[in-house]
């Protein structure tokens, strides 16, 4: 059956769903209130990371990683993916114990992609690191990609497969229509046999309309980037007990982030950076890489992300409608998962059992949640 599919949200997950659904022959329309990749998808840190994932996400992250290896085949562009490896650094013995525990946990789940490295090995791989760090947890093959280039590659692939994109169009309401939906967007009306909610930080509104509210919060992870520095770093570096993501690009600039939060101005729909959090992040960087004290920051920014209280996404069918599928709330680490989320959405839309376990991501885990106020 050729279904009429409407996807709300032209971010990574919306575009990935569009690619996989159109590949199955469905007629797909993607609606976005701004433009593709305006918020979280286009301005995130670009981490392609399996390291440190929530256990429920590991099978998906492993499958996504396989797709990242051949992105040029999937979307016709390598998305600047650089598999330089990622290392979570221990700053003290307590951190080291946390990492050892993590390694045991991952192994007990049947995976071996994360492994402890000794002090010597750590400093061999990251010579610029402060000598006090006693070890780390490494994941080879992880790395980073260019976020905006990635979301654009997915969008263009979808367009090549006949998907139409309506940007600058805000969905204003839903109306049940037979077994499907009439999607209202101002004066526009779109008929949908299947509706996909990939609206990111704005996905909660659709859930309310569907009678299944979720405790989604819009947060603004902040990033800052330095001027070009001499090459000193290969892998992407994380910290164990405080937020940090630290990488040097090929052009020499260093991107610093990892979860410190700015402020969301919901009226203007923009994320503002906050000095305090940036300074905390700077502290972490300087304690791990003391010479960075003199490195100059040229820009800071923040993007709006949908974060769930348990830090894992809502990915699966609606609990109130047979013809709605959710894929949102990736809680500031959905970038790496984007190739696989669309496959899962397409499977669900076709009435097939997805190839990966998605029960932990069910919206029903929030069924006792009621909107306050």
């Amino acid at each position: 059956m050729r279904a009429q599919v409407v996807i709300v949200g032209a971010g990574l997950h919306g575009c990935s769903a569009a690619v996989h659904l159109s590949a199955q022959g469905h007629r797909v329309t993607v609606i976005d209130k701004d433009y593709s990749g305006r918020h979280a998808s286009g301005v995130n840190a670009g981490g392609v990371r399996r390291l440190g994932r929530h256990p429920a996400e590991i099978p998906l992250a492993m499958a996504a990683w396989e797709r990242w290896q051949r992105m040029a085949e999937v979307v016709g562009d390598d998305c600047d993916f650089r598999p330089v490896g990622q290392i979570k650094v221990a700053e003290n013995d307590a951190d080291l114990e946390t990492l050892a525990e993590r390694e045991r946990e991952v192994r007990s789940l049947g995976f071996d992609h994360e492994y402890l490295i000794t002090r010597d090995e750590l400093h061999k791989r990251v010579p610029a690191l402060s000598p006090h760090c006693p070890g780390g947890l490494a994941c080879d093959g992880d790395g980073y990609a260019n976020p905006y280039r990635t979301v654009t590659a997915w969008r263009r692939q979808a367009q090549r497969q006949g998907v139409s994109f309506l940007e600058g169009v805000t969905v204003t309401g839903l109306e049940a229509h037979g077994s499907g939906w009439q999607v209202h967007a101002g004066r526009h009306r779109f008929s949908a046999d299947i509706l996909i909610n990939c609206a990111g930080a704005w996905a909660g509104t659709l859930c309310e309309w569907l009678g299944e509210p979720v405790p989604l919060s819009a947060e603004a992870p902040m990033l800052m980037i330095t001027e070009r520095l001499k090459s000193f770093l290969g892998p992407v570096i994380g910290a164990t007990s405080r937020p940090l993501s630290f990488k040097q690009f090929e052009n020499g600039t260093v991107l610093i982030g990892g979860g410190v939060r700015g402020e969301v101005d919901s009226r203007r729909q923009v994320a503002e950076t906050l000095l305090g959090g940036l300074a905390d992040n700077a502290d972490t960087v300087v304690s791990l890489f003391p010479f960075m004290h003199e490195a100059r920051i040229v820009r800071t920014w923040a993007g709006i992300e949908a974060v769930m209280p348990d830090q894992i996404p809502v990915l699966g069918p609606s609990s109130t409608s047979q013809s709605v599928i959710h894929a949102f709330g990736f809680s500031a680490h959905g970038f790496q998962l984007s190739p696989i989320s669309g496959e899962i959405v397409a499977d669900l839309a076709m009435g097939r059992e997805p190839a990966y376990p998605i029960k932990p991501f069910s919206i029903t885990r929030f069924q006792d949640y009621h909107m306050s106020g």
């Binding site: 433009y35 593709s36 990749g37 286009g42 301005v43 976020p147 905006y148 280039r149 654009t152 969008r155 263009r156 940007e167 980037i225 001027e227 052009n251 203007r268 923009v270 503002e272 950076t273 000095l275 305090g276 940036l278 300074a279 905390d280 700077a282 502290d283 960087v285 300087v286 960075m292 004290h293 003199e294 490195a295 100059r296 920051i297 040229v298 820009r299 800071t300 920014w301």
Partner: protein, 464 residues
């Protein structure tokens, strides 16, 4: 965090006049300027310039002396050599004095940081030896530095003529003055002449400059339609076409000074997310302001060229107006009480700026000077060409934030100051949409790079 009643950013004519006005109403103003001395671009180095012979820099330059002297008032906390690196919508102000970063809070802010030169992207404009006329003038005023070999000045606008005359008077040889003003524009501007006659002094000054150049026999090439800078590793010469002639003319020169007008510096108002409008007559973005020069961000006003080009005297008048606005906002005076003064001020301002439409039309850079050919670099920091921007448009980029994410265009140390307007206009042209629809870069602090160490110091200040 320390709180100040009024912070004025910039000590050019607008900032200095605003400070003097505020002080007259009992407000202690903090005046911050990145430069080591007051005066802004127009009165730069007025207290220290080695060029003492008054006729070289001219009466309009020395006119600034009184305003600069006004900053000596002990009620003004004037801080030269201080960089603004952050300003939030809550009026938190991040400053950098020398290596020392700090954060303070303001009850009212007047932005008076002036204009910047419009980008002039021609083939070869990034070669060493190619500068803007503005930088040429800075060197002359602040250090008396002047090229010894004959220079070429090219472009359009009052500043270009003024610099040519200042060079002439200082005895600096001018190889040629290439005028890029399209032929038809003299005719277009003519209809606006009656309005311009309300400010005859400025008009006569312009006529006088042209006459002085002619008397001195400076080679003045008009209606230049194409211009390229050439050289291996640095500027060696230029070539140009003019009129309807397809012949290339060549000239060897080690120094080319380019200029095609000035535009408001909107970096800070953009970062504040003030509403901006595209002014089609001035071909520039302007922060939207009410009749007290207040933006749509509470507590932030913009005076002088930073809000739209009005020239030095117009800027000083706007500074006064914004200073009065601050006094009202801070409850130091009632609007009623200064009603008459304000009415007169607005009248003077209208007369002073009456010449603008004429100048804007006369010196409007033609489209091909603003929309360079594919091979020409647009973003100097990240080396992005006009052709790459056009290709991004084909791939669906509607605005500069998308091309920025895609190509890093505008992400370099200049934060888009050198490419922003060009990219917006290129995308508007390629996508067949207006510049207003196309928009501009979203800007974020720091406005000027600061180190991680300084960031930590500032945060302690903000928390304390």
């Amino acid at each position: 965090m320390k709180t100040h009643d009024l912070m004025i950013l910039g000590s050019g004519p607008a900032g200095m006049a605003a400070a003097a006005t505020a002080v007259a109403h009992g407000i202690t103003a903090v005046v911050v300027d990145e430069q080591p001395a007051a005066g802004g671009q127009i009165y730069r180095s007025i207290e220290s310039t080695p060029i003492k012979e008054r006729r070289i820099l001219g009466d309009d330059y020395w006119h600034g002396k009184a305003l600069v002297d006004g900053l000596n008032d002990p009620r003004i906390d004037y801080r030269p050599g201080t960089t603004l690196w952050q300003l939030t919508r809550k009026l938190e102000v991040g400053l950098l004095q020398g290596e020392q970063a700090s954060m303070v809070r303001a009850r009212h802010v007047i932005l008076a940081h002036g204009a910047m030169e419009r980008p002039f992207p021609i083939p070869g404009w990034t070669l060493p030896g190619v500068m803007t006329a503005g930088s040429g003038q800075i060197l002359l005023k602040s250090a008396g530095l002047a090229p010894s070999a004959p220079v070429v000045l090219a472009g359009c606008g009052p500043l270009l003529l003024l610099l040519a005359v200042q060079y002439l008077r200082a005895g600096i040889p001018i190889a040629a003055l290439l005028d890029t003003t399209p032929a038809g524009q003299y005719r277009d501007a003519l209809s606006l002449l009656p309005g311009a006659l309300r400010n005859p002094r400025t008009l006569l000054k312009g006529v006088g400059l042209l006459a002085e150049l002619r008397r001195a026999g400076v080679r003045h090439v008009r209606h230049v339609t194409a211009l390229e800078a050439e050289g291996e590793g640095r500027l060696e010469g230029i070539r140009w076409q003019c009129g309807n002639d397809s012949e290339w003319h060549h000239l060897s020169t080690p120094l080319l000074l380019l200029h095609q007008g000035v535009v408001p510096n909107t970096q800070v108002t953009r970062a504040l997310d003030c509403t901006h409008d595209w002014d089609e007559r001035q071909l520039a973005w302007q922060p939207r302001r009410d009749n007290w020069l207040a933006t749509d961000v509470e507590g932030i006003a913009v005076a002088g060229d930073a809000g739209g080009i009005v020239g030095a005297k117009g800027s000083a008048m706007q500074g006064q107006l914004a200073g009065l606005g601050a006094a009202i906002a801070l409850g130091r005076v009632s609007e009623e009480k200064i009603h008459k003064e304000v009415k007169q001020l607005r009248r003077d301002l209208a007369r002073e700026t009456a010449i603008r439409p004429f100048l804007d039309v006369l010196y409007r850079p033609a489209a091909h000077w603003r929309l360079p050919e594919d091979d020409t670099l647009v973003c100097r920091c990240e080396e992005v060409t006009a052709g790459e921007i056009r290709r991004m448009a084909e791939q669906g980029c509607r605005g500069p934030n998308q091309t920025k994410s895609f190509t890093r265009c505008g992400m370099g140390p200049c934060q888009g100051r050198m490419c922003g307007i060009t990219v917006s206009e290129l995308l508007a042209d390629a996508n067949g949409q207006s510049v207003a629809e196309t928009g501009y870069y979203r800007l974020r602090p720091p406005f000027k790079p600061i180190t991680l160490g300084q960031l930590a110091t500032a945060a302690e200040d903000a928390a304390g």
